[in-house]
């Protein structure tokens, strides 16, 4: 796929604090790209640099081949930015907020009305158009927050942790919106510290930690490269690792054990055979451990994402 955004050797410092350290990545047109990392990893700074809110100090950011530092006007027209904060006027109605944001992009008259109707329909809030934003739930505000960045039909939508503090229903609604936008050809850049969100939405991702990019690529590639393959079993008898040379490490987990290995399917088969033959006692549970980004983050940083 054609590259729509190209970041090369980006470094950003605030005073003596380096918040982004030589970051490089490319995003393909029409993909959903996840930026995963704990709070303070540099995700929001990256997004503000992509939108031109912060000035690019060293390195370069190119959108559609244009440098963000010199072609801000073009960038602002093709990019929609949804910040982490709910940036709406609570004392205005949803429609008045959208009229304002649409006006900033030069939309007016019939075109503006139609766009407002479309985005309100997409967010499922058409019937609340005239209600003041302050009467909305957190999830509804988040949806209007996104809607206000879609009025000018951007080619790239940048969402900075858009599901913080919302109910599952609104989260599902937002996920649905993002999938529809991606299907319509909009490139999505999505930052979060929820790994399950990246797993559910993103084709490609980058993992940031303390301003450094510690991994990037497609989801399957990263899982394949960095997650530990393992089998989980529960049985009454202690399992001797020496009996199974394929097992690299045994870790107690809940009621059973996690057996790390390179070929988990082979190990599973062997364990089932041995259990059937009575060699290791009856198995109460056996399952293939699904590789997750949590494991990836743990193996790369030595810390859990949510502990941060």
């Amino acid at each position: 796929m054609k590259t729509i955004l190209d970041v090369d050797d980006l470094t950003k410092t605030f005073g003596t604090n380096t918040v982004l350290d030589h970051i490089s990545f490319s995003i393909s047109r029409g993909s959903c790209y996840g930026l995963l990392g704990p709070n303070g990893a540099g995700k929001s700074t990256t997004m503000k640099l992509l939108t031109g809110i912060l000035e690019t100090p060293t390195g370069s950011i190119k959108i559609l081949g244009h440098d963000v530092a010199t072609a801000r006007d073009m960038v602002q027209k093709v990019v929609g930015y949804v910040p982490q904060e709910i940036t709406l006027y609570e004392k205005l109605s949803a429609e008045d907020n959208l009229i304002f944001f649409g006006g900033l992009y030069g939309l007016k008259g019939k075109q503006l009305k139609e766009r407002i109707r479309t985005v309100l329909t997409d967010t499922g809030l058409l019937d609340r158009a005239n209600d003041l934003v302050k009467t909305f739930s957190g999830g509804m505000k988040r949806r209007i927050n996104i809607a206000s960045a879609l009025l000018h039909e951007p080619q790239i939508l940048i969402l900075d942790e858009p599901t913080v503090g919302i109910d599952p229903q609104s989260r599902n609604h937002i996920f649905g919106m993002i999938r529809r936008l991606r299907d319509a050809g909009v490139t999505i850049i999505y930052s979060t510290h929820y790994m399950e969100e990246v797993e559910a939405l993103c084709d490609e991702l980058a993992i940031l930690d303390h301003g450094k990019m510690i991994a990037q690529g497609s989801l399957s590639d990263i899982l394949d490269r960095f997650s530990q393959k393992a089998v989980y079993i529960e049985n009454q008898n202690a399992l001797g690792a020496e009996a199974y040379p394929a097992i690299k490490k045994i870790t107690p987990h809940h009621q059973g054990l996690i057996l790390e290995c390179d070929q988990p399917l082979s190990l599973m088969r062997q364990l089932l055979d041995d259990a059937a033959a009575g060699k290791i006692g009856p198995l109460h549970a056996i399952e293939l451990m699904k590789p997750s980004l949590e494991d990836v983050f743990l193996s790369l940083t030595g810390t859990r994402l949510r502990d941060e």
Partner: protein, 380 residues
Amino acid sequence: MIAMVIKELKLMAREKGNFFFLILMPLIFIVVFGSIFNQANSQTLTVSVHDLDQTAASKALIKQIDTIKGFKVTQENHTSVANQVKQIKAGKLSSLVVIDRGFSAGLRNGKANLHFYSDAAESSETAPIQAVLKNIVTGYQQQKLAHVLQAHGETEAQIKQTLMAPIQIQSVTENSKHVDFMSQIVPGYTVMFVFFIMNSMVRRFFQEKDSGMIARLQSTPLSPISYLIGMWVPAFLSVIIQCTVLLATGYFFYHLHLGNPLAVTLIVLCLALCGTGLGLCLALVVRSENQGLGITQLLTLGGAIVAGLWFPSDILPSFAQKIGYFTPQYWAMSSLQDVMIRGYGLSEIWLNLLVLLLIGLAGLAVALIRFKPFLRAAAH
């Protein structure tokens, strides 16, 4: 920019605090102080008199006091003088005039006595009564002299000539038809509350900054200068509406003489530019909302005193009056009073307009210089 202006006007219209601080509060001040001082205009001083003499002469004296405009006599013969003096000591009575026994006889032989007891803490009320008594005594003195001169065979014209004071005060009151308490109160509170727009502006900019809105708007095609103008224009318009409402209240309800309409309009425009220019400057210079609100209180209330917004500045010590010259409130107030009371036009108040304009433009210039650092700070 138009989208910004419309949005800000909508927000202002829905912000009850703006209406309260910019319109309702000054209206309350004008109505309350207007009522108090209008009543003060027609206030009469009560003169408590204890007549121990009870003769035609003492009654004539009491009648003479009672007929003086602004004074009303109440006779306090029901209790003893000693008790009434106790009441004065206790602060329950401010003064007492006692017409001694033998007052009438004393008049004839030139040894009549009056006693005037007064509470030292109430000198502002008792001093006029004492002055009136002295005037009456002088009148009796002149009558006595006239009798003596008449006895020496002088004609009435000669007596009049002799008794005439060597200095005559020719009292000439200029512009008296336009001067009353409302010509101090209405322009005073209008000017004072204009500068409260700085509060609203500081609060709005910090709301925008703290909510992340300024950062978000930097990702849109809205240019920084359009943002600044979009925030300033609604504040400017609201000050014009505020001045119009307050001056119109003075005109329609208190018959305030407005003077030259063009001059008043230009004063209001320059005042609006000055107040909002300073507001914009303050919003972009201060480090926190509380700092901005504190400075606004200092400028509005401190300026109100030294600029003569609450009372005429000429009753202040000269150094305080000189400080007043450095406040925009002074130039606005003096120009409004010049137009309303003295009937001045543009040619007489141009300097005031120029000062207000320059202060406003200086505020806007500082705001422009400070805007970029403010945007950078808001982006983080």
